[in-house]
Symmetry: C2
Subunit: 711 residues, 2 copies
Amino acid sequence: MIVSALLTSVGINTALCVLFITLYSILRKQPSNYEVYVPRLLVKGTSKRRSHFNLERLIPSAGWVAKAWRLSEEELYSLSGLDGVVFMRIITFSVRIFTFAGVIGIFVLLPVNCWGNQLEDFDVANFTSNSLDVFTISNVNSGSKWLWVHFCAVYVVTGFICVLLFYEYKHVSSRRISYFYSAKPQPHHFTILVNSIPTSSSSISDSVDSFFKELYPSDYLSHVVVRRTSKIRSLLNDANNMYKRVARLQPDPNKQKIKNGAISRLFGRKTNHIERYEKMLEEIEENVRLRQSEASLTGEARAAFVFFRTRFAAAAAFHLQQSVNPTQWTTELAPEPRDVYWPFFSESFIRRWISKLVILLVSTVFTISFLVPVVFVQGLTNLSQLKTLFPFLTSILTIKFVSQIITGYLPSLILQLFLQLVPPAMEFLSTIQGYISHSDIEMSATTKVLWFTVWNVFFATAFSGSILSMTSVILNPKVIPGKLAIVVPAQASFFITYVVTSGWTSVSSELFRIFPYILNLITRLFKSPDDEFELPYMPYHKDIPRVLFFGLLGITYFFLAPLILPFVLAYFCLAYIIYKNQFMNVYAPRYETAGKFWPTVHNSMIFSLVLMHIIAVGFFALKKLSLASSMTVPLPILTLLFNEYCRKRFLPIFVGYSAETLIKKDRENQNDPTMTEFYNNLVDVYKDPALVPIQYSSNTNSLSSPLISPA
Amino acid sequence: MIVSALLTSVGINTALCVLFITLYSILRKQPSNYEVYVPRLLVKGTSKRRSHFNLERLIPSAGWVAKAWRLSEEELYSLSGLDGVVFMRIITFSVRIFTFAGVIGIFVLLPVNCWGNQLEDFDVANFTSNSLDVFTISNVNSGSKWLWVHFCAVYVVTGFICVLLFYEYKHVSSRRISYFYSAKPQPHHFTILVNSIPTSSSSISDSVDSFFKELYPSDYLSHVVVRRTSKIRSLLNDANNMYKRVARLQPDPNKQKIKNGAISRLFGRKTNHIERYEKMLEEIEENVRLRQSEASLTGEARAAFVFFRTRFAAAAAFHLQQSVNPTQWTTELAPEPRDVYWPFFSESFIRRWISKLVILLVSTVFTISFLVPVVFVQGLTNLSQLKTLFPFLTSILTIKFVSQIITGYLPSLILQLFLQLVPPAMEFLSTIQGYISHSDIEMSATTKVLWFTVWNVFFATAFSGSILSMTSVILNPKVIPGKLAIVVPAQASFFITYVVTSGWTSVSSELFRIFPYILNLITRLFKSPDDEFELPYMPYHKDIPRVLFFGLLGITYFFLAPLILPFVLAYFCLAYIIYKNQFMNVYAPRYETAGKFWPTVHNSMIFSLVLMHIIAVGFFALKKLSLASSMTVPLPILTLLFNEYCRKRFLPIFVGYSAETLIKKDRENQNDPTMTEFYNNLVDVYKDPALVPIQYSSNTNSLSSPLISPA
């Protein structure tokens, strides 16, 4: 790929970005789009849905960009909780890294690379016709002393990133602790989830009561046995759908006055339908009530939420093995009430373990077999192959602009579309893996998507080969540095355009929230404007892996192809504004894990560093500078030791709270008179929503209120 | 190697075994050897040190064999504690495995192997001239259907071993729990060791007091700060040596009556010496007192034993992270008071971590560089090489008997001598690794010695090559099954003789306790017969790896060379008698870990099984029976899953006790009036022996009592 092709791509994508941002700044001002673009403001009541038309609404403005940029960490915290803050820290942290690495890369490494002439001489006169390879390390002559500059850069940047990682981990940890200190009493701090309760002659509820009363007579409070409610849940679903159908057929009182006779006849037929559906709805509702009372009597699962009087007692019950048999009475920290994933309470220890193993196997197979479309996409980048496959295209493909688009843009676009399928698929897999909370499901999906992306986008395109050759590489770890050193730099230009096309465009098109927008357009045709709408939740499992992957690309290519750095930096700056905005206006926190996903972020950075080191070892050897190669070997070892230290120093803070912290908080609430009420409420907040009585009334006016009362 | 050579080796070693056992049965009856051979009986007082001479003392007897054989598990428990029982279960368990595998191997696999003629035909007429290879699987024809018999045997024996492993783990777990239930209140159940106490303006002792009083006001009892006593310890050592010197010069009152004039003159000079030494001893003693009071005032280390009123509180304090900073106030379960390894209390978290890493590195390097003598030993097995090196030996080496001894016996004898150095070396390394108890040091040394043995004896001899070729194998895991399948069967005859020579002979020569015997002979020349002597401790770190290694050999070779099975079985039967006997009469338990080393045993068995499966996969492929090869692949996966299940089901029981167990025991002692005294004693039992005041008196009579009072 030559510079002009890159410039074309950058031009197109910058134009697209600007277009998207301009379009967005107009669209967001249309009141009809408020539901999609500023739902938070709507809910808060600061924006009204209807306003008079004025010209200003059609002129793009940049006020929101400045507003997003200025949003402080504390404001973000109040909007999106600690999770939002920690998510934004991934981006600010990346901005810092790539500013530092970018300065070194552009002002030190890039000139060195251009100076070499291993591949070809740098053509100053005809700048745009230079190959991108001229800017990569491959252009430095074999055995050249200049490679020591790269060697030093690797050490310096690794040191910088590690120091930053340390302070970032420390910061997030201390935020997590201060979050805990400042929080009001929260139900999940007093609660554990007990699983694999052994069945005995008495009921599960009695077993739990006697077991915990025996062990913790002064600290045990009460419990709620989890009940099997999957059937009720599907019935409730039916009821909900039926309700929507009735609501849609319901005459709109605003429009009634303009109806004429013909429509009245049609309306008469409608009324018949409504009556029939209402009857069906009543039947379903009766059924739900029956099932609910059934479940309350007999449908005990072998799991229960157990409540304690103090946080310390709950933590002790979680950390200590409860029963003599470690596979019975297994305990875990309870999730927040709103975070509980009710549909899945696998009952036995064994069944949960097996489902976990099966899902791990399935997701591995899925990750590996996904190569097929990737290889297909790679075929597209090859012009000659296209010409062979579709001979009629030959004349078009010879046009320079078209061929540049095809090689530079189409492949990653198609790949991007395929990749859109991955997060939902991985989330589905995590859902059936047996996690008990939405946050755990998302965290697990995050890890899966991340590995998926690293494997499929990075390794598979880098190795650009069949599954077989990759398997042989895995089974032959000694050759990995060498192979990586050969194939990774060769893919540099692909990844530079990938950052520009897939990074810039996708992050700015995020603004539009295309699917919600279309959905909004469709539903607005049917529903009454006074319908309640829910705030969307931040899809961390989709966004964290994406952001981290661009970080991985930047770190891995930092010394191989420093040209990538400004583009990565630009990506993160864009992401900074845009994510701060889709937090400020759109997403509501669904739960609060208090930044529990930071260790994943930390680990993936360490992975990127070690990957970079391995490639450096292989590359210096390839360039016949074996001293530098062997002197790089300590670097991954030191990095892993650093990681091990961080794991010991910070990771426990993300697993549970310390005795000191818990007891201090418990003391605070010791003489709090409101605690009695809090204790009494615990049983209610951990009630399965499927067991809450449904409030349905045949009074048509009430149809516009939600069928199911909030839990 | 041919059958006659094996028979020679078996003959020699059986003869040696019988000779050893006969000699032992005479030697043990000599009262002068009681200290070495039956010290426990001496201490118990059932055997007297002096008895009149009678003829019976010179006639070998087998009564002790029957006595050892009949010793029940309960008797063993009362003698050697649960550790002794669990150690013996390794042997009985192995006897069971190899009885089952032996029946299948000898009656099913061996005939199949002889039936084949891949290598050579089985020569019925001239039985002793058959090569041992005829009895191995290598003799079965490639692609033969008979290999399916081996395939089935692998599945059946794996299943049998796994079932046995499961019940054994279950048995040991339940013994461990019932041991805890039946035990009297034990100091270490109420105690944790706190490390990395942050330094502040107040003393460590005050910090500990305020920290734990704040956190556990009702359960915290008291504490003992660990003090730096390494200098005192070396002074005490000096004092002890000086004391011994004085004692040696002291006139023996029994012998005084036969002294004549000349000796009296000599004795005059002796008295001068005694006076001088006594003065020096007094000086040292003064110094010790000074240092002791110094240490009590200022020598605080950043560690303390913290005592709680209940076992549950101690366990909770161990399981929960105490401080907000996970690297401060780190807790671990306290060892038994007699098990504490006082010399080493590394103070900071970081220093301990680094020393652990360094030691791991050193022991790995030691393990790998130990190959040099192994390779040398292997050279010895090669007759032609010997003839080249020492041409003058040619005539001797051509004698059949000599050459058989050299190929069959000498190599493993030399190897054995080298290997004797390993357990002390590994124990030394574990000592400086930062463990706080003797049992942890021994457990760690056990693991190190086991890996050492497996790597050096099994892999290094099997791969019989340079370090380089081995490294390339490690870095190329795909070829491992194939390589193992080629080299392991080829070494079958070596390992058969290894079991006979190294196993049989060494286990029966164990009876003699050669080094203690020689030491006893020497010290008896100097010391007075009324000196106290200490019971020796069972060297688990030496014996467990050895026993496990023979298990590994048996399992790995079970289907490759079934001929090894009767020899392994014979080894375990011998070991059964002999170990039951070094427990009944000799060793005293130094500490009680309640069978904590069983997981190591379990894991090494699983390792053997998986190794066997990997070899099977490679071997069936080599024999062109790819269906069997790929059908063996699920077996290691299933075995590892089984192991994972056991890890979840049983391992927690070996890490800590469950809340249920702890609270039940605490209830028992709740109203026990003796507990107050027990609580008061806790501070004393965890006192560093180096800080106990020394009782030295110039009264010469008291010199025969120990200088240092027991802690």
